[in-house]
Amino acid sequence: MNDNNTIKLTYREAIKQAIREALQKDEKVFLMGEDVGRYGGAFAVSKGLLQEFGPERIMDVPLSESGFVGAGIGAALNGMHPIVEVMTVNFSLLAMDQIVNNAATLLHMSGGQMNVPVVIRMSCGIGRQLAAQHSHSWEPLFAHIAGLKVLSAGTHEDARGMLLTALQSPDPVIIFEYTFLLNKEAEIPANAGAVDITKAKVLREGKDISIITYGAAVYKTLDAAKELATTGVDAEVIDLRVLRPLDEATIFNSVKKTHRALLVEEAWNSVNVSSEVSARIMENVFYELDAPVQRLGGVEVPIPYPKHLEEASVPQLADIMNKVKKMLQHD
């Protein structure tokens, strides 16, 4: 802790603190996933937790996503509050049937009798040269599914706090964490803890343009906004945080103020979260727009292995700045 009552920690440490706090607070909470116990987690997020909480609460599972996600759903149906870790989003397709056909639908199918209070965490996105099969950004796939609540932890505060609130939900919650951010350090309030999981957040106020983003693009966008400020552009930055259901009010209020919207994310451009946000802006605040809504998404290729090509496949700071300048351009 320092004088400002903040602490500096990595994104990885923020997630670990959240899991530890959840385990301490509620004995119905347990963590299950591939290598989360003895190995300490594929990304060392749960290192040391097995020793602290024991094998009943830090549970290594076989390499069978459909099996262990289904087991987590079953535990939730029977009154537990499991945290299921799917190592990365890339493997989540194997568990998709459990997530979509069981977790997301059982409340409806049981006529409201059976809630499924499961929290499924998965690591997501590019940035560590893991190539096409291990670098997916599949937030849009999950944001499409009715019956799920889908969160994206684009900041350290959310990495520290979203899990705690998600565990209070009676219904299934998906939390996306970002491999790219694991080693990134940031300062958060020393007393950081549970956060709201219903609202988008204005991370920076501005009047010229609303840049709406989430996930691994949040910090890049904030950096871009800072750079833009030196050129006289006052950009507002919104972290969506909740990809389903979308917090329309925050988005619309911002667009009503700035009259321009740029949507930034790393997922492929076609049919992504930005597509949905763009459509809702058009449907609801069309007459507030002073320029067409623009999207800046991932290039539509399998993510390349070479570092320079990997970087070129998702929006970078310079891309965001150029796009904003183009949108604000006046002769």
């Binding site: 009259h259 069309f286 007459y287 727009l289 002073d290 320029a291 183009k326 949108m327 351009q329 006046h330």
Partner: protein, 383 residues
């Protein structure tokens, strides 16, 4: 219920901006009352009503831009009972606010690139986007451009006057381009001996005060009006065929000092006496120059007369003002050698031309008209 619509004040007019209602719901109006002031390319025009009754509802707010033909107000004819007027009107008025977008759709011509916000503000503030230069991406009109246009509009009146003259220039340009593009003109010309007419005028003016004094041009108007009663095919519009008009309303071309022309109509010129005609002429010329014409005077002329007599021009070949089918042109009266019955003399002579629409009439019709005008000028006492 009678619908009061935005009138067309010329072939080139697509829309006008309502500046002021001069009446309110509940007022009774009769034919000829001026009930609104509308801003057009030709400046502020007083709009008359042609029906009798009680204003039941005003559908358009002041400073709203309205396409030609849109219903602006509802008038209950006196036979209809005006029911529950008091409570109903304010309520409906707020309901009418919603279709702002509808009006906007009519207002913004296809091809204008403007942001939705810019369009909305323009519609609310009565800004014509055609006149706004876009500075956004790809030349799109943005909020900032519209706000600049509003600021310009608020600027001192002197500058606004300039804008009106420019608008008149554009209106003349549009009408004359249409004329030259669409109307196959034929041209006829003749000379008239004006000695009798001028002599008659001198006599006539002896009995009149300076204010009442007649000018040669009034004789020309009267001669034309009378000729049109004899050749009705030239008094009308070309709209899917020749539409003859029963009223003879002569549009008289008035040059504005700031450039451009206005063509106020002198209604029923054939039925007016010489003195009434002179009074009408004095009235409309001064009001045309002050840009204070009534809507009926701008839209209802059925034939046009142009005279450049004061400027030493001998012959003027006019362009027809669509949708009319003919225009008569009068040059200056100059002394010329004149041969008649084998003798040579010097007479005051004037060249008269006719430009007519060959779709509507042929040379023979035009020829009969010129002959009639000439005859009328030779017998001024009978006018």
């Amino acid at each position: 219920m009678i619908e009061f619509k935005m009138p067309s004040l010329g072939a080139d007019m697509e829309a006008g901006t309502l500046r002021e209602w001069l009446i309110k719901p509940g007022d009774s109006v009769k034919r000829g009352d001026i009930i609104a002031v509308v801003d057009t390319q030709k400046g502020l025009i007083d709009i008359e009503v042609f029906d009798e009754g009680t204003i039941s509802e005003l559908l358009i707010k002041e400073n709203e831009k309205v396409p030609v033909g849109m219903v602006m107000a509802l008038i209950a004819s006196d036979k209809e009972a005006v029911v529950k007027k008091e409570e109903k009107i304010p309520e409906q008025h707020t309901e009418e606010k919603k279709p702002v977008e509808k009006i906007m759709a009519a207002e913004v011509p296809h091809g204008i690139k403007a942001s939705p916000l810019a369009k909305r503000i323009a519609s609310e503030k009565g800004i014509d986007l055609m006149a706004v230069k876009g500075t956004g991406e790809g030349g799109a009109i943005t909020k900032e451009d519209v706000e600049n246009a509003i600021a310009e509009k608020m600027a001192p009146k002197e500058e606004k006057k300039m804008a009106v003259t420019e608008n008149i220039r554009m209106a003349v340009a549009a009408a004359m381009s249409k004329s030259n593009r669409e109307i196959p003109h034929y041209y006829l010309e003749t000379k008239a001996d004006m000695s009798k007419a001028l002599a008659w005028l001198i006599e006539a003016n002896k009995q009149r005060t300076v204010k009442q004094r007649l000018l040669p041009v009034v004789l020309l108007l009267k001669a034309v009006a009378k000729a049109l009663t004899e050749v009705p095919d030239l008094n009308g519009y070309w709209e899917n065929g020749l539409q003859r008009k029963t009223d003879i309303n002569i549009g008289f071309v008035v040059s504005l000092r700031t450039g451009g022309v206005m063509i106020p109509a002198i209604h029923n010129a054939d039925k007016k006496s010489i003195d009434e005609l002179m009074a009408s002429l004095n009235d409309v010329i001064s009001r045309a120059r002050a840009m204070k014409l009534r809507s009926s005077e701008l839209s209802e002329s059925t034939f046009t007369v142009t005279s450049l007599g004061e400027d030493n021009v001998e012959t003027v070949y006019g362009l027809i003002y669509p949708p009319q089918v003919a225009i008569a042109g009068f040059g200056s009266i100059t002394e010329q050698p004149w041969a008649e019955t084998g003798m040579l003399d010097v007479r005051p002579v004037m060249n008269i031309t006719l430009s007519a629409d060959h779709r509507a009439t042929d040379g023979a019709t035009g020829s009969r008209f010129l002959k009639a005008v000439k005859n009328n000028l030779l017998n001024p006492g009978e006018l």
